[in-house]
Symmetry: C2
Subunit: 210 residues, 2 copies
């Protein structure tokens, strides 16, 4: 048999096969949120301010905070945007695509931390405001996992994969980044619009299509 | 060559080929909206009320109206939901999936007109309110076209196809219904969450993957 056809068949089998073999990956759905630098936290909430943990998130060490800020663009504002802790080296505002229209400024589709060339936005807190130089993004969908998960699933940190979504609004989503390290919980992170558009909930699972 | 492999190769070629051959289909993005029966229009706006056309839509004879209603469920309300005209035989409330959570009642993924067994909801207008027995849906994605378009694209009314979406949030969406008749403008209808989740705008095009 021609090798090319064999490769194609193997790829298709992977897409089409019934996923009863333990390769399902839980889905985590993110709404808009913000990560702050200590300097920006100081400017918004007062010098030396410490965030108040409200709830642990699925990724170890990450948590949702009691505090929220208002995000403002040239066309509009979005209130009560949740801060996630702990503080980071750089402030990063993660919105959903629909928010970009409301704010009047585009969030580029980027991975967390990849902020060069993205737009800035105004943040307003109880003690002051900050005009960020960059950091407004729409999160690129990605899958957190341990190195052991990666080995089992046949992928490695930095890979870009497709994922298969079942159900009446199902399909295949491309450009999903693999984030593998020693401390991550296995979870595919998408945002609320991706989840709703594909009919996914926090109880859903997806599978990788390499 | 084994016929099965030939079929698979042909299918894949269709998915993968560069779409420069005139098969692109424009995208139309729907936000939440409502179609009313004359009886429900009477109850909400007064007996014999006539809708006020504000703007023609891309599908011949369909238009957005000046009038809006409030849609209310057990958990919350959504104000200013646009009425689309003309009146129809049955009232149909088309929400986005995120609205279902806000209302506290699920919109089933259905084609327009396929309302049996769907949930009801409360509508409030300036002259009264209506409790609908059924009709709350999340629109199933679909493609309007003429019979000539259908022949050219190799599909027929009622077919269910996949569509390919290019770009950084691209992928393949399944369960897209073909609606072909003599009077439809060629357009793939998706809702705002599907559009935002896949990175599509009203300037985008998609292609059919049969």
């Amino acid at each position: 048999m021609d090798n090319k056809y064999a490769d194609v068949m193997n790829l298709l089998l992977e897409v089409l096969k019934d996923n009863k073999n333990g390769n399902e990956i839980p889905v985590g759905i993110s709404n808009r949120h913000i990560h702050l630098s200590q300097a920006d936290l100081d400017a918004l909430f007062g010098v030396g301010y410490q965030l108040t943990k409200m709830k642990d998130l699925s990724q170890p060490g990450q948590y949702a905070c009691k505090e929220t800020v208002t995000v403002v663009g040239p066309k509009g504002a979005i209130e009560k945007v949740r801060i996630l802790g702990p503080v980071r080296k750089a402030t990063q505002v993660e919105v959903i695509a629909g928010d970009s229209f409301k704010l009047g400024v585009a969030g580029d589709v980027r991975m967390s931390g990849d902020l060069a060339g993205t737009h800035g936005v105004t943040l307003v807190g109880p003690k002051g405001s900050v005009q960020t130089r960059e950091g407004l993004i729409v999160a690129q969908r990605h899958i957190h996992m341990t190195l052991a998960d990666a080995a089992r699933l046949g992928v490695k940190d930095g890979d870009i994969v497709d994922i298969k979504v079942a159900g009446p609004r199902g399909g295949v989503l491309s450009n999903v980044a693999i984030r593998a390290n020693d401390s991550s919980a296995l979870e595919c992170h998408i945002d609320t619009e991706e989840a709703n558009g594909l009919g996914l909930t926090s109880k859903s699972t997806i599978t990788i299509v390499k």
